[in-house]
């Protein structure tokens, strides 16, 4: 489970304080599917980075699976990140010189998985995203949708408890985006927590829960099917429960 208690992430720019996150308190249950929406600069990516242990809160508490992680050192943090979190990015972020297979193997390389097992599991993960035949191809030889599916295979190969996807369909056309979402949802049905940052209402509506962010704060929470438009969700701000 993800538990954020009064989490702040502040930057000081030329003597002025800028709060990318300004007191977020939120629980995300195991196996939940949560979408995060909000205007540009509202702190969506920052929230995902904090949850994904790439960024540290300036203030507040963060518990992941019952463990306080705000003050872990770099090595421990890296280990938790590697084993529990799968990151999917808008721009895929594959290593261009490595083929699909080796990209998927990367997290296992850092986890010390033996070579043969690494091979086997990467192949299986690629098969799961329908790319069994493309394992030897480099990112430049794959379409955007295929690249994102490789990224998903890589994010899930170590069976993380949570997948964090920052606009995973942002660079894809509808069909490819649909395919990617289906993959992510299949993983979610398998029990993995899924958090998706998106600007796309259709993507957000598929989530069980939608968080609306504004100026670093969660200003509204609603069920996916309740979502009409971002403007409306913003207008109907609810006070913190």
């Amino acid at each position: 489970m993800i538990r954020l208690v009064d989490v702040w992430r502040s930057y000081s720019l030329g003597g002025q304080e800028l709060h990318a996150l300004a007191g977020v308190t939120e629980d995300v249950l195991d196996g939940e599917h949560v979408a995060v929406m909000g205007p540009s600069g509202s702190g969506k990516s920052t929230l995902l980075n904090v949850i994904g242990l790439l960024d540290r809160p300036t203030r507040g508490r963060y518990e992941l699976d019952g463990r306080e992680v705000s003050d872990l050192d770099d090595a421990e943090l890296s280990r938790v990140r590697r084993d529990r979190v799968g990151h999917v990015f808008q721009a895929y972020h594959l290593v261009a010189r490595l083929d699909a297979q080796r990209n998927v193997e990367l997290p296992m390389l850092f986890a010390g998985v033996p070579r043969a097992e690494r091979h086997e599991r990467a192949r299986a993960a690629l098969a799961e995203v329908g790319l069994a035949k493309r394992s030897g191809h480099r990112p430049s030889e794959l379409s955007g949708g295929e690249r994102q599916r490789v990224a998903i295979a890589r994010a899930t190969v170590l069976r993380p408890t949570v997948i964090l996807a920052d606009e995973p369909t942002g660079n894809l056309d509808r069909a490819a985006g649909q395919q990617v979402l289906e993959l992510l949802e299949r993983l979610n049905h398998g029990g993995t927590t899924l958090m998706v940052v998106t600007h796309d209402l259709d993507v957000a509506r598929r989530a069980r829960r939608v968080l609306i962010l504004e100026d670093g704060r969660v200003v509204n929470r609603l069920a996916g099917h309740e979502l009409k438009s971002l403007a409306e969700a913003l207008a109907a701000k609810r006070v913190e429960p």
């Binding site: 790439l54 590697r82 997290p107 390389l109």
Partner: protein, 399 residues
């Protein structure tokens, strides 16, 4: 990550930029090749000198007249240097540990025979000389049974001298005239070669009394003392010095052991080798700077990748090692190429100039490789630290 995985990962990165990888390897390769080549020349010279000395045996010491001060010229300072005489030499036989005493007068003179003449060194000595100097006689005897106080043992010729004078004809038993004295050739030496450019095959040997007569002197050029290595050279040097001091009333002579002489030469050549290797080392340093530069640039270019790897769970330490592995592989491969280049050049040089004493020991290859890898690690330290310190989010944002 295991070392093999680090290396494999490093290779994927290095292969991406083949030309620049090869160029920075070349920097290391040239440095290592220079060190190998220059050191093998220096080591060769050392080995050559050591061999030159040891061909006369290592338990030999030399007594020469005059005191060799730090900057002194023997026999020219202090005025009243006394001669070394045959009696001095005989007295040294009393010293414990002394095995053989070889008094010698070194002179130059014309050796004439069969209508030909040749100016050579003439060594007037005793029958013990061959054993002490490790020379052997090819034919006849070496001034055998001679009484050093009386002449009449004939002459012994070096093989080259004999050939020059008699051609293919037989020198043995023939008469020669050495610095005016008519002597029968009683022995021909086995070839010994040169000793530091002094041709030992082109000399004539006569007995001490003859030498004194033809050179009109009773002063010895040197006394060589062969000692029992079991006794130890210091004790023998002390004994020899004491006896001569008693006889001369002062220390107006110099005792030099073969080992001391060898050590002096060796120290000089070692310094030269080190200096020359250091010059080669400078090109290695330049190579190292090349590796550092390339890696620094690579970290800049791959900032995004570093952020990604961190997001996938790589620790700072893993990132550090990824880049250290890259520089170590770069320098290691460069070093291997450099060793091949260095040994190849040494081999080619040896073929071109066979007389050149080159010594490229195989143990050197392992050391060369280790030094290259170490150089790589040192050169890679700064870029690798830079990579490890990158903030994952900022790195990910870089494009």
């Amino acid at each position: 990550m295991r070392a093999s995985e680090l290396v494999a990962f490093a290779l994927t990165a290095l292969r991406e930029h083949k030309l620049r990888s090869v160029l920075s390897m070349l920097g290391i390769a040239i440095g290592v090749a220079a060190v190998v080549l220059l050191t093998s020349v220096g080591e060769g010279a050392r080995g050559f000198v050591a061999a030159q000395f040891s061909q006369f045996g290592t338990n030999l010491m030399q007594v020469t007249p005059g005191r060799l001060e730090t900057a002194g010229i023997p026999g020219m300072l202090g005025g009243s240097t006394r001669k070394l005489t045959f009696e001095d030499a005989e007295a040294l036989r009393r010293v414990r540990g002394v095995r053989r005493v070889v008094p010698t007068i070194v002179g130059q003179g014309a050796v004439q025979a069969a209508g030909r003449s040749r100016d050579v060194y003439v060594l007037a000595t005793t029958s013990e000389a061959p054993e002490a100097w490790r020379l052997s006689v090819r034919r006849g005897v070496f001034l055998a049974g001679s009484d050093p106080t009386r002449s009449g043992s004939g002459a012994v010729l070096g093989p080259k001298l004999a050939r020059e004078l008699f051609g293919d004809g037989d020198a043995y038993g023939a008469w020669v005239r050495i610095a005016g004295a008519r002597l029968r050739v009683v022995g021909i030496m086995e070839s010994k070669g040169e000793m530091l450019a002094f041709d030992l095959d082109d000399v004539a040997y006569v007995d001490l009394a003859t030498g004194m007569r033809i050179f009109d002197t009773d002063e010895l050029s040197e006394i060589d003392v062969e000692f029992d290595p079991g006794v130890g050279s210091e004790a023998v040097v002390a004994g020899v010095s004491r006896v001569l001091r008693e006889r001369h009333g002062r220390e107006d002579f110099t005792v030099t052991t073969q080992a001391a002489m060898l050590e002096t030469f060796d120290a000089v050549l070692r310094a030269v080798t080190t200096g020359v290797a250091a010059i080669g080392g400078i090109s290695l340093l330049v190579g190292a700077i090349g590796v550092l530069t390339i890696l620094w640039i690579a970290v800049g270019e791959r900032t995004h990748e570093i952020g990604l790897l961190r997001a996938l769970g790589a620790t700072r330490t893993t990132i550090l090692w990824l880049f250290l592995a890259e520089s170590a592989v770069l320098a290691g491969l460069g070093g291997a190429a450099g060793l091949a280049l260095g040994y190849g050049a040494a081999g080619a040089l040896q073929l071109a100039v066979p007389a050149l004493p080159l010594q490229a020991s195989p143990g050197f290859a392992a050391a060369g490789l280790a030094v290259s890898v170490l150089t790589g690690l040192v050169a890679g330290a700064a870029p690798a630290r830079r990579a490890a310190r990158l903030d994952p989010i900022e790195a990910l944002r870089a494009e």
